[in-house]
Symmetry: C3
Subunit: 326 residues, 3 copies
């Protein structure tokens, strides 16, 4: 069975998730990943058929967003509403973000209290480790919606779902990862999942933003072939999936260094002509200028479909951890 | 049939709205305006009867409020809830408003993504044109809830609904518009609708805040009689409907200029005695001091009823554009 | 019948609440308090049984939080969702709080308008008296969720519910109140309720933060025995219930004064050994350091259970004032 298919989990499969937190991509076995993918497929079919769902009827999800992340928040909230449930929300603006000191203990108390209100807690934090503190405090499942430089498992899951769906499977694919591979939480997580399959990776980045050596080494040890290059045009001619990330000025040592490379990691209409036929472009969004607007028309420009896939994937996450796939 | 009555749209009438955006008052034909008014009347009857509605059951409305507008936001959200639907919200504070530069493209991306979550998108923006960008990006209908100096169609629609309901119709009415007619988005929109009927208009404003000449000229060309004056006492003795707006200090060239006229455009208990019998007072709210609190007791003080009429009017807008009047 | 039991109100009992505001602890008779407690018990049983409730189905609650109070807001919102209803929310950040001047009139207008949207309005304000202004303006019931130095009745109600539930009743209990008894809105309210029963009170505070003399005198007049001390160890050896509050630096005249006493009003694992057997600790939360984390393991550490009791208590408040206990 392909990674992308639509199938409700069996009782045994559902038991692997019920009552568990989703804190990191590292926690998933290949089997669990595929169960989640199929459950997402099942919910996507329900969405397409405009089926009214009652899986989370009468249930409450708490969305604790301690830094602004509008798209992720709206996606999780919509997922809960589409499952028939209700939502309570904390959505802090950038200026009201939790301070970086001494909040750990308070977070423990906050989660203990919110655990008394909600059936599932989704947490986004500018500080690494906050969802883990929450999971330790709460009896109900906690889903990490991004914790600083830490993890963002729902993004990696929807990336995998998108690849599986767009390409019909993952085995045999060449995936190019482009841009800031040093700081890219998203690509680090995605690599974990891709390495479960027979994939080949191409890392495309400026010298100062290369993939951390330990990740590259660890992935190679798993038998994954990795090529490193600065040549985007070469990479897109080989890749079935091109995963773009933002190259941010503030990551460079100097403005000169930034200016020297900033135009080397952009996909525009001209570059699309060099693509391997059928290649798709992914991007965690928001984009700034890494993909020019004219590329949106290209059939393989999958980044908006990718963002929308966040909905069925997050429905699957919520329904699985609460044991409510119906 | 009066403009105010309660009647569900026929299939043909509903088809005029289904899948369409509501971006401007200019887009409405008189027929469409009246269908919307009657649908609002239908929903008001349901509200009065405390009928539980399922018209938007299982559907999601996105409320994207990029500047604070609490009353408008709560009114739209309540409308969705009363129709049985769910709401996802972005409610920016004044300090987090979207900046005025270079956001157009990002807005396109944002609406494209939110379009994947929601069945209808309501947008408020400090920048003119943002809902239009949204409508171009989204397949689902977009409703403009106010875009800077641009349009605010739901306000004009509820104004018309209130006039029709309070006065039993619109033909034959004399409407006085008072205050800042130069910058008043609300009155500019309302004039469009009033000019569809046999109405007479009186514009009451200080010299520096007069109705723009092109609007006056265009409205006269439609055959509408317009009188311009600075004499509020005279105007209220002639008008069936008195539409008040705020006269804001910061609109004047100097404090002296403001102080010279600021008390000339206030309705108080004494002035009410000069009213034409049965006249009603409208105001888009919030008021500052344009209407003194003692006027609230006057039976024709319709501004709170007007605000409340926002609920059935917005229910009609949401249900019509999504094709869900049931 | 104990104060804590689970029982739906009779028609006559429900009539005491329907359509009434809840603005202050002072408004309650002992009978009304106990009806509310029993109704909360009824809802807690429904929560434990995971019963899907429709008591507020199709209804809308407005949560107007003009200062941040995340836990109280989430608790009220969850209560409404668990009753099957919908919520519209204003949640101001600290920086957007309503200013202290000249907003009274605007608040009147705001509540008049929101009253047209919602079936019940919950209001939190940094200014004393705002919920009262709201209640005067609105026809639907208003619930005070805290108004500055004024009242916070839902906190006192959940405190009583917790005492009744944890101790099996209130008569015969000795309650120690510890910390800032001068400024503690919570303890002032709670005393009103405790004085309805055969209780003994011990006030434990530094000299500068003593219980206001008029409250002490008034409570003694009701026949309640009150002991005042600075010796926390003595107090906890006598008390069945220890109600902790925060001792905030900024309440003291000087840092020296604060430093001299700050460690005298802390419960830690060592002090717990001096407790009267079976004693419970309450705290309105959030705590800072008044209760050390190791105390959480103590079976009588009831403060998180207390916070969670906010849910059934607020469900009872909402359902009772709207006449919807079903």
């Amino acid at each position: 069975m392909s990674i992308y298919s639509a199938k409700k989990p069996t009782e045994q499969e559902a038991a692997l998730f019920k009552g568990h937190d989703i804190l990191s991509t590292y926690q998933f076995t290949k089997e669990e990943l595929e169960i989640l993918m199929r459950t997402a497929g099942y919910y996507e079919e329900a969405l397409v058929a405009q089926k009214r769902l009652y899986d989370m009827d009468g249930k409450v999800m708490a969305a604790l967003f301690y830094e602004p992340s509008t798209r992720t928040r709206l996606s999780f909230e919509t997922a809960m509403h589409r499952l028939g449930g209700s939502v309570i929300t904390v959505a802090e603006s950038a200026k009201n973000q939790i301070s970086s000191t001494s909040k750990g203990e308070t977070m423990h108390d906050t989660f203990t209290i919110v655990d008394g209100y909600a059936d599932v807690i989704v947490c986004r934090s500018p500080q690494t480790g906050v969802p883990q503190i929450g999971a330790a405090a709460a009896e109900h499942p906690v889903i990490n919606a991004g914790d600083g430089a830490g993890q963002h498992p729902s993004q990696a899951l929807l990336d995998m779902y998108t690849i599986g769906k767009e390409k019909g499977g993952v085995d045999g694919l060449t995936v190019a990862m482009v841009g800031d591979l040093k700081n890219g939480r998203t690509v680090h997580s995605l690599i974990e999942f891709l390495a479960m399959y027979d994939t080949k990776l191409i890392f495309v980045s400026p010298d100062s933003l290369q993939m951390p050596a330990d990740i590259t080494a660890k992935t190679r040890e798993k038998g994954i072939e990795i090529e490193e290059t600065k040549d985007l045009k070469y990479a897109v001619s080989k890749a079935d999936v091109i995963y773009m990330t933002r190259v941010q000025k503030e990551r460079f040592a100097s403005e000169e260094e930034y200016n020297a490379v900033k135009d080397d990691y952009i996909i525009d209409g001209a570059l699309v002509k060099s693509f391997k036929p059928g290649a798709i472009i992914l991007h965690p969004l928001p984009r700034v200028n890494e993909i020019t607007v004219d590329v949106d028309e290209y059939p393989g420009a999958a980044y908006f479909r990718q963002a929308r896939n966040g909905l069925p994937v997050r429905m699957a996450m919520i329904a699985l951890v609460t044991g409510n796939v119906k």
